[in-house]
């Protein structure tokens, strides 16, 4: 058995359009450069990183990890696939699984059965520390998780299921997943935001939701900060007015955060995605 195996699990969320996937990739790249074997995980059915890392990848992102660079792999996990893997692991036979689950009726059920996909995904993410399922041989798992509301639903699923289902394997698994998600030595939560009023307000709402659900203290990552300080003056150009404006916006957004843990990432003027990710990996503190 694996002894004193401490896997770090990092969840990255945030509303759409804030650069959540780029920040998740930046975090993963940073860990991989530190020599940690790192897996970057995206959730759902369609891959974002396949296009994003087109230059680095030799094959499209899939359920089984593919290599991005030294120490860094990427995978795409959907609910049904996680469930399938878990079922095969428990049944110890792929052919039995196929017999019973590879038909349209079962597929439809798995797709819609309430909370099952969410449970399967959180189960897979936490499978390392729980020693359940096929081993995930990584030091670090970075999850490019669902956006805001859906992410909270994902985190709540194990707890909700544990309350609804008291007995049987489903209840036991749900409780053990919930325990790992709440363990601050194991799981860390990052909320990516933009330094603007509405995204910040939403991030705060989400931070409170995560705190309430798990008792964890998420870090808010302010992305796309504009770097230069300007003082408003007579005859300022449109560009200088824009900078002044952005600065006010940024300061206002930052002041909303109160004493919450905060990280700042500067606006990266690169159209090349790998350069963006590298620059984030250098700037972020973990």
């Amino acid at each position: 058995m694996i002894k004193s195996f401490q896997q770090e699990i990092i969840f990255v969320t945030g509303k759409g359009g804030v650069g959540k996937s780029a920040v998740a990739a930046g975090i993963a790249l940073k860990r991989s450069k530190e020599g940690k074997k790192t897996l970057l995980v995206e959730l759902g059915y369609q891959s974002f990183y396949t296009d994003y890392f087109a230059e680095q990848l030799k094959a499209p992102v899939a359920f089984s990890p593919v290599r991005v660079t030294d120490n860094l792999d990427v995978a795409l996990w959907s609910g049904p696939e996680c469930l399938r893997e878990y079922a095969i692991y428990l049944l110890k036979s792929e052919s039995i699984y196929k017999l019973f689950f590879e038909n349209s009726v079962s597929k439809a059920l798995i797709n819609v059965a309430p909370a099952l996909p969410e449970l399967a995904i959180t189960g897979k993410i936490t499978s390392g520390p729980r020693h359940v399922g096929p081993p995930l041989r990584y030091d670090v798992i970075v999850v490019d998780a669902f956006a805001t509301g859906h992410f909270l639903a994902l985190l709540k699923a194990p707890q909700g299921m544990a309350e609804a289902i008291q007995f049987g394997p489903m209840g036991d698994q749900s409780r053990s997943i919930d325990k790992v998600l709440k363990d601050s030595n194991q799981c860390k939560y990052f909320i990516v935001s933009l330094p603007e009023e509405l995204p910040t307000a939403e991030s705060l709402e989400l931070a409170e939701g995560i705190e309430k659900t798990l008792g964890a203290k998420p870090v808010i990552v302010m992305n796309k900060m504009l770097p230069v300080e300007v003082t408003p003056h007579e005859g300022a150009s449109d560009f200088e007015k824009f900078l002044t404006n952005s600065q006010q916006r940024q300061n206002q957004a930052l002041s909303l955060l109160g004493g919450r843990p905060l990280q700042k990432i500067s606006f990266c003027f690169q159209n090349d995605s790998w350069k963006v990710v590298e620059s984030i990996s250098q700037e972020i503190n973990l």
């Binding site: 909370a115 956006a147 509405l198 003027f269």
Partner: protein, 353 residues
């Protein structure tokens, strides 16, 4: 855009999360009201953004919004998915005692609030019932945020698959439930599947699941009828889709893919709005002369950045040519957080070429 708004009864705003769909939908609705129409803007918004933007109080059905230059009327409504779903269940059920049972089922509670597809379903349900009421000349639907724009169109099918694939049938034998539910099933194939599922999940879970499916069986007819009605509304000549996207390579690629899907589905994509496409200062074409080398350096970097984006946009618009009208909106000077922001954006939409 004026003729699109004038000639439409329903505008469906689609797009992935965070692209500014809610504010654009509100602006389109405002434009309609400025043209003298009675307009309703509908949104499913877990973060309650429209509420903040339009100043709507919690728990109200449809609130009238006052603003400048409105010659018609503008109403806004935030869809409560749980409430809409419950209302649908109550209407669809013939037996009142069953309604209570299903509303208390633990899995139903999950389904009606968090299940993927349920928000999309309730959005369409609310769209149809508002349309059916005949109260409005134009309804603008702000669809739920999805990771990918296409998820919105696929979600109701996922929910409908529950019935068409016959899953509910497995759980339908009431006699069998009284003894041992699973042993009562005669079909050995499904019996094996359920047994395996029970081994994986536990009998407690399976009981809830069986209870759930038995109770929703009676919706089938209503759900199918509704799905048919909604589909006819979505493909009708007075319904148009507006795709809202942000401006980066990944999003533009998604927009292309999505516009193809919309066409294949028999829907009409009338406009593609690229929101926050460029900052306002880039339009003025001024040459910056600043004494600060830092400011100068930043200016050059940003100019170069937007120049490169301009090139990728040219390639994109050639590929998208004639698929839909493409509008580009500038980055606003201020955050859009109230009706005056919506008014300004509406003005940009009207002026955009």
């Amino acid at each position: 855009m004026k003729s699109l708004i004038e000639n439409s009864k329903v505008l469906v705003c689609v797009g992935s999360g965070g692209v500014g769909k809610t504010t654009v939908a509100s602006s389109l609705a405002l434009l309609g009201a400025q043209l003298g129409k009675r307009v309703l803007v509908l949104t499913v918004d877990p973060a309650q953004r429209l509420k903040t933007t339009m100043g709507i109080e919690e728990g109200q059905e449809a609130v009238e919004i006052k603003g400048h230059q409105i010659t018609g009327q503008l109403f806004a409504s935030v869809i409560d998915p749980k409430k809409t779903f419950d209302e649908f269940v109550m209407r669809a059920s013939s037996q009142p005692e069953r309604v209570k049972k299903i509303l208390n089922n633990k899995l139903y509670v999950q389904l009606s609030t968090t299940l993927s597809g349920s928000q999309e379903f309730t959005a369409l349900e609310k769209l149809y019932s508002s349309f059916e009421s005949g109260k409005y000349d134009l309804i603008v639907l702000d669809t739920p945020p999805t990771k990918h724009a296409i998820d919105f169109l696929k979600a109701p099918q996922k929910l409908a698959a529950l019935f068409t694939e016959g899953v509910a049938k497995w759980f339908r034998d009431p006699k069998a439930t009284q003894q041992n539910f699973f042993l009562g099933l005669l079909q050995s194939g499904t019996k094996q599947v359920l047994k395996t599922l029970e081994a994986l999940t536990g009998s407690d879970f399976m009981k809830e699941l069986a209870d759930f499916f038995q109770n929703i069986e009676q919706w089938q007819g209503q759900l199918e009828k509704r799905a048919g009605d909604v589909h006819s509304l979505l493909v009708s000549p007075t319904t148009s889709f507006v795709l809202i996207t942000s401006f980066d390579e990944a999003k533009l690629k998604e927009a292309e893919y999505f516009s193809k899907e919309i066409k294949q589905g028999g829907y009409r994509l009338s406009a593609l709005i690229i929101n926050r496409a460029f900052p306002f200062w880039i339009q003025s074409g001024e040459q910056l002369q600043s004494k600060s080398p830092k400011v100068m350096n930043l200016y050059m970097q940003m100019k170069d950045y937007y120049q490169k984006r301009e090139e990728s946009f040219s390639r994109f618009s050639i590929r998208m040519n004639q698929q839909a009208k493409i509008l580009r909106l500038p980055e606003m000077r201020e955050d859009v957080s109230d009706i005056s922001g919506v008014e300004l954006l509406a003005k940009y939409i009207q002026e955009a070429k």
